[in-house]
Amino acid sequence: AVGDTLRIRMEGDLQTLDPAFMIGGTEDVMMRCLYVSLNRLGDLRDGAPWMPWGAKTLEQRDDKSIAFTLIDGLKWSNGLGPVTAGDVKFSYERIADPAVASPWAYQFEQLDHVEVVDQQSGIIHLKSPYAPIYVVSLPYYGGHIISKAGTEKAGGKFTTEPPATCGPYIFSDWQQKQKLTLTPNPDWPGPKPDFQKVEIYIVSDDQAAQLAYEADSFDYTKVAIAAAKDVKANPPADTTVIEAQSTRYQWLTINMLSPRLQDPRVRQAVQYAVDVSQILTGVYNDLTARSTGVVQPGTKYARKSNTIAAPDYEKAMALLSEAGASDLTLTLTVMNDSVRMAVAQIIQASLEQAGIKVEIQPYDEAAYWGLGDKTQGDTYKNLDLVLMDFAGGVDPSENLVWSRPEQIGAYNWSGFDSPEFEEKYQQLVAETDEEKRVALANRMEDLMEESGGFVFICHEPLVVVHRTGMQPLIYPDGHPNPVFFKKSA
């Protein structure tokens, strides 16, 4: 049975409530409750369409300007007065300001400035046309609006105690690494959320979380992929299972900079030798299909198919001997959690069939991310194969951006250096015509696969269980927005 309290499980604790420095996960969920953004997204199962939220109106004036008007009665807590267009200007420009060093600055890279028209309305001016702004920048992460006066009073910086909030809920209690409690904001002018109280429980272990869900400790939780099959087959009582594809996409990087992989035929041999279907069955329980690229499947931008769609060990071996590399040993670098290790072992076994020996080299998360960083030395040139995954977005640009040449030595670990790709990327972000954008995105993924630097695996499945008596709303990033959870009759 669903009560007046919505109990949600998240994995990590809160670090900061400053949108400019937030990390994700719990923080984003919290901010969706505490702040407003100009627009918001719908459920990912509906394709996550965007709709106005903190703005009464939000319209594209021309390629480079968007006008907005805030809803009436939005008020800051702490007696800081009404929420104004000035606050919007402050929030966006702050994140875009390189001096602030916000990790989300890239989302507002194209922001020129925000023009304040009057108290409630303003115009967002872009440097160049940037179509993804409605789904990438405005509804989440950096799009949350903070109080100019409050922030300035706090010295321009704050972390877990925001100087003022204006969203449907207020942050009322925090038990470190255990529980966060949100209660309704009496000043909230918009539609009242269904739930009187939101509790966010912090449980990092998926196994434990599932047990705790069954023990009725909360009403909504993500489930480990390994357990998904079981949960689907025997769901706990009074439970609905949601299955979706998340925006986390996984692929195998084949590093062209590696001395062992300079020859395109060798890279292609690797591409031919990875049996992705085994990974999907073995690790993901066939909950998800093979991805054709990095772009979110199910959107119009997804490629129709992979160029190399099925493993061909003979071909791989032929390519290898052609390249004179029949005795190839490669290391496969991987982050040391159970899912990724399982994928790595299947890749290892699969490459073995083509005569490629693979040594798995696991790293802990922090060490792993430093491997491709050119400021940390030359390791990025020596990686062979890396199993990678990024959390992406629904707009293709968000996922393709990391393969740009300028990302070599940062996050383009394939060493994929294609001028054509860069050109197409620039066109993609500026283009507003959907047809053309689809063609651009598809071409970019073709380029990626042709380079021999990538084997696309999948977009990880998202499995969520929740009490039947409610309707959750999940953003494409896989995290819920508690404000729009509905009690079903």
Partner: protein
């Protein structure tokens, strides 16, 4: 003299394996000895004993419950669990015996130096021992493993480096106790070289309790390896180890509990085996032996 005759006779009567016979006289110790020997055989002859290659993946038959083909079932990648456990014995015992041997030798050496050497050196060494003891293990393990990379050698190094202080303390305490014993004084009186005293007279007398302690610590090390596997710091996959089997089993503990159960079984058996063997050794070597770890 009849006493001498008696003594000589008994020596002969006991034959060449008095220790083995003494061990075998206690049924529990005998069982422990058998377990340990079985595990050692398993480790030695793993490739011949295992019904399947331990790394053979078969995703279509993953997490199969025990059956005629797979006596212990299969793991999350469809590998034969029994084969992995048999091969895992090799990894587990290599790491356990390796690190215990390394830690034991280092502890022995430093303990002797601390106990017999000059007092300032003793102070420095004790400080090192205590500090290493109070250093958080995971932090240390993480530092070493990220620098050296995972692998059996690294694991042995990490475990040895964190466990040798307790052996060193034991040896030091023993050495201090023996340092002023009459026979060491007698040797000093004959102007025996300190090195000779250390190696010929002190070493053989402190090493006994150490060996017993080491044998009882072997299962502890196996558990530590399992714990490090749990943190993703264990042996490099797909090498099977008891720790990694358990770790893999954890993710499917609900749907396929047999993985954890069969994966944990050798750990429990090995613990029983080595612990009781160690206790048996202690009882038959010297019933009054003080096996207390210095705090």
């Amino acid at each position: 003299m009849s006493f001498v005759a008696e003594a000589v006779q008994t020596r002969r009567g006991w034959g060449h394996f008095p220790l083995l016979r003494a061990l075998a006289s206690n049924p529990v110790t005998l069982a422990a000895l058998v377990i340990v020997i079985v595990f050692l055989m398993m480790a030695a002859f793993a490739p011949w004993l295992a019904p399947y290659p331990p790394t053979k993946i078969d995703v279509l038959h993953k997490l199969q419950p025990p059956s005629a083909e797979h006596w212990f079932g299969t793991d999350h990648l469809g590998r034969d669990l029994l084969s992995r456990i048999i091969h895992g014995a090799r990894t587990a015992l290599t790491i356990a015996i390796g690190s215990v041997a390394v830690a034991g030798s280092v502890g022995l050496l430093l303990g002797l130096i601390a106990g017999y050497g000059p007092r300032w050196l003793d102070g420095v060494l004790v400080l090192v021992f205590d500090s290493l003891n109070s250093l958080p293990m995971i932090m240390f393990a993480l530092a070493i493993i990220t620098v050296l990379g995972t692998g059996t050698g690294t694991l042995i190094f990490v475990i040895a480096a964190t466990s040798f202080p307790s052996y060193a303390r034991l040896i030091r305490a023993q050495t201090l106790a023996l340092k002023n014993s009459d026979y060491i004084l007698a040797e000093r009186l004959m102007d025996a070289h300190p090195l000779r005293i250390l190696l010929v007279h002190l070493l053989p007398n402190v090493v006994g309790p150490l060996i017993i302690l080491l044998s009882m610590d072997i299962p502890v090390v196996i558990m530590v390896e399992a714990g490090l596997s749990f943190l993703g710091l264990g042996v490099r996959p797909p090498t099977p180890s008891w720790g990694s089997i358990l770790y893999d089993g954890y993710t499917s503990i609900r749907s396929a509990p047999f993985v954890v159960i069969f994966g944990g079984l050798p750990l429990v058996l090995a613990t029983l085996g080595f612990t009781f063997l160690g206790e048996g050794l202690r009882d038959s070597l010297d019933p009054r032996l003080k096996l207390r770890r210095p705090a």
